[in-house]
């Protein structure tokens, strides 16, 4: 395409929205680093963690779980029917983590000292130390997992072959690292028994976070494949004839099982705490909404979708699952945290703008890559050889 025609093709309604977001968001971001985070946020002495942690980091990591979930299904469990969504899931995972790190940079008071935890003064007793290493290594693993697509795009055949040979090792490493840090994100809150509401506090928090991250991964892959299928029609392989409905119903089957298991372990947490009395309070109603409306209900809807072969219902349940995991992460890190403190945290406009900006940047990079590299379709020369 000629440069002029290309430039003209950029003037679309979607791009206008993205441009508007960045026009407001990037100066806000600059202002945060110039004047300090107090200038744009409602963070306080009693509420030191706001949506930059709750959404950009704690939710972000869970929502990027599709990469390890699908990689494990395809490579380790032999569920090869999910292959068409493997690359988009890995790309979403990679960019998800990349922008989790961007979000972390915004939330850290002195982000330039981030390497200290790896080299200068590592706090080996900290849960965050483990999470830091896992996220750092897993980001590299995801890059390696995605590398074949980039190598095919660049036509680097030899390196691409080598990558195939070591792929299983990388996948195993990725699943191990994900198990560790997905669960450890829940372990952040183990030292806050008095601050986190008893219906959410549990010594099993790491297990809750791990199991629900798998559900989040499945939900996100269903959601993302539906959106990509619509937005990137021109990128789809005309020869592949991927039956997206059947694929999403296959994911729904996994979703039903994982969500039900998650509902069950959460119930075990409630039994272990023995705080049934709290179920009859306002917080109990909020807990019931999360557990019944956003865990049990999508689990049953997934099962019903599989039974009636309704891909539409599976997609709805996928969206509910994603919302449910977001709700849970918000509850643990924000809403039910400091539940008995009078001054409630409500995010400032500046915080919301910066979070939206980071998500927008992620979507833009995703689009740039998908429009160029073999992600939603197979590279003609590498058909069937992954």
């Amino acid at each position: 395409m000629a440069p002029k025609a290309y430039a003209r093709s950029l003037f679309t309604r979607t791009n206008a929205i993205f441009a508007a977001i960045l026009a407001i968001g990037l100066p806000t971001l600059a202002y945060r680093f110039w004047k300090g985070m107090g200038a744009v946020s409602n963070l306080s002495q009693t509420n030191p963690w706001g949506i930059w942690v709750a959404f950009d980091i704690v939710c972000g990591v869970a929502l990027a779980a599709g990469g390890y979930t699908v990689a494990a299904a395809v490579y380790l469990f032999g569920q090869k029917q999910f292959r068409p969504v493997l690359r988009p899931a890995i790309l979403t995972g990679f960019l998800g983590y990349l922008f989790v790190v961007v979000g972390l940079m915004v939330d850290l008071g002195q982000p330039w000292r981030l390497p200290y935890q790896f080299f200068l003064t590592p706090g080996t007793t900290a849960v965050m130390y483990e999470v830091g290493w896992c996220v750092f290594l897993y980001l590299m693993v995801l890059a390696l997992e995605f590398l074949p697509a980039a190598l095919e795009w660049l036509g680097m055949t030899k390196v691409r072959r080598f990558m195939s040979a070591i792929s299983i090792g990388i996948i195993v490493l990725g699943v191990t690292l994900s198990t560790l840090h997905q669960s450890s994100l829940g372990a952040f809150f183990l030292m806050s028994p008095g601050k986190l509401h008893p219906l959410w506090y549990s010594p099993f928090l790491p297990i809750f976070f791990f199991v629900s991250s798998i559900a989040a991964g499945i939900g996100m892959v269903i959601f993302e494949s539906s959106v990509s299928h619509r937005a990137f029609q021109d990128q789809l392989d005309p020869e592949a004839h991927v039956d997206m409905d059947a694929l999403q119903l296959g994911l729904a089957k996994g979703g039903a099982v994982v969500l039900f298991a998650y509902f069950f372990v959460r119930l075990q947490g409630l039994v272990a705490s023995g705080r049934y009395d709290l179920l009859l309070t306002g917080w109990g109603a909020w807990y019931a909404l999360e557990m019944l409306g956003f865990v049990l209900l999508p689990s049953l809807l997934f099962a019903f979708a599989v039974r009636t072969q309704s891909a539409k219902l599976a997609r709805a349940a996928g969206v509910m699952t994603v919302l449910g995991v977001v709700l849970n992460r918000f509850n643990v890190s924000l809403i039910a945290f400091n539940w008995n403190v009078p001054d409630r945290y409500v995010p400032a406009l500046g915080e919301i703008i910066i979070s939206i900006t980071i998500v927008t940047l992620g979507v833009l990079v995703f689009r740039w890559i998908v429009n160029r590299m073999p992600v939603l379709h197979e590279h003609p020369e590498w058909r069937g050889a992954h």
């Binding site: 004047k35 300090g36 107090g38 200038a39 946020s41 963070l43 306080s44 002495q45 009693t46 030191p48 963690w49 494990a72 490579y75 380790l76 469990f77 032999g78 090869k80 939330d107 850290l108 008071g109 002195q110 982000p111 000292r113 981030l114 200290y116 935890q117 200068l120 003064t121 706090g123 080996t124 007793t125 900290a126 849960v127 965050m128 130390y129 483990e130 195939s164 040979a165 792929s167 299983i168 195993v172 490493l173 191990t176 198990t179 560790l180 669960s183 450890s184 829940g186 952040f188 809150f189 183990l190 030292m191 806050s192 028994p193 008095g194 601050k195 010594p203 272990a272 008995n340 050889a385």
Partner: protein, 302 residues
């Protein structure tokens, strides 16, 4: 139940092939517990007159601005909290003593025996020293504010308005202690409400005072078991709840609450890869037998 699970995981972790990885957890056990003769302060609120000399001395010793409304008792009308520029504040008790006297209590960092902030800090910016204080290395801090999430007493405060912000809190005058001097606040206290000494001795002293005046004191030493024990100990003739001392503190070491999760790390690192490789081999074998394997040899894994 939690204790059993933790111990089980500890044993499993130590016995596992990943024993080398538990190095961090073992090191923590030695750095977490302070020495037996670590410093402490006994706060006897029955002797405190609410003069706020401790606040003024603290501000001076730490180079902070003078306390708000110095010498003005109207300051007691509202509950005050420590902040980035005030490391200790005196509050009036909600309850008067049985004899009808006002009661006051100062708040500051409790300098836990096993501090949650120090064990959770990813860059060791907070550290429990052998002398007793929990000190802050401002040249290491990333500003993640996890210490504020972890501290059950809500002590670490943050400089939100600075471009390169730091965590601020009571230092227990660690620099003065190293020179053999008592903390500034205890030095300035005119009424004998603050006694500086070894924590173990102060615990005995607190018990003796309660034992000798059983009808006067509430039979409670705040800080003896709170969060696994703190360097600062409080006794009073009014309940600790009315002294604005936090009541939702679990009476065990906070870092231990994360031990189960941390001990599982070597477990997962050593068990997951062989387990996952086994799964892979299993599913590949199933494919081979079913005759679905149609990718040419050497072209990589299907």
């Amino acid at each position: 139940m939690n204790l059993n699970r933790r111990n089980l995981l500890k044993i499993a972790g130590a016995a596992g092939a990943g024993a080398a990885l538990t190095g961090g957890a073992l090191a923590s056990a030695t750095t977490r517990g302070a020495a037996k003769n670590a410093a402490g302060v006994l706060v006897d609120t029955t002797r405190c007159v609410g003069c706020r000399a401790c606040e003024a001395a603290c501000s001076e010793a730490n180079g902070l601005a003078a306390p708000e409304k110095a010498g003005d008792d109207t300051v007691f009308a509202a509950r005050r909290r420590t902040g980035p520029t005030s490391f200790t504040v005196v509050n009036k008790s909600a309850e008067k003593s049985p004899a009808g006297e006002e009661r006051y209590a100062k708040t500051q960092c409790m300098h836990c025996v096993t501090p949650a902030c120090a064990s959770g800090c990813v860059v060791k910016a907070l550290e429990k020293t052998a002398l007793g204080p929990v000190v802050y290395h401002e040249d290491r801090c990333l500003g993640c504010r996890y210490c504020m999430i972890a501290c059950p007493f809500g002590v670490p405060k943050y400089e939100y308005t600075k471009a390169a912000p730091l965590v601020r809190k009571c230092t227990f005058c660690a620099a003065r202690q190293e020179k053999g001097l008592p903390p500034a606040c205890t030095d300035a206290c005119p009424s004998g409400a603050l006694t500086f000494g070894k924590r173990a001795d102060l615990l005995e002293e607190a018990k003796t005072r309660i034992y000798q005046n059983p009808t006067k004191y509430v039979h409670e030493i705040y800080g003896e078991d709170e969060a696994g024990g703190t360097s600062w100990l409080y006794i009073s003739d009014v309940p600790s709840a009315s002294l604005t001392l936090p009541q939702d503190i679990v009476k065990k070491s906070y870092p231990e609450m994360a031990d189960g999760a941390l001990s599982a790390v070597p477990f997962i690192v050593t068990l997951w890869p062989p387990l996952l490789m086994g799964l892979y081999t299993f599913s590949k074998r199933r494919d081979d037998v079913a005759g679905h394997e149609n990718s040419p040899k050497g072209a990589g894994h299907e």
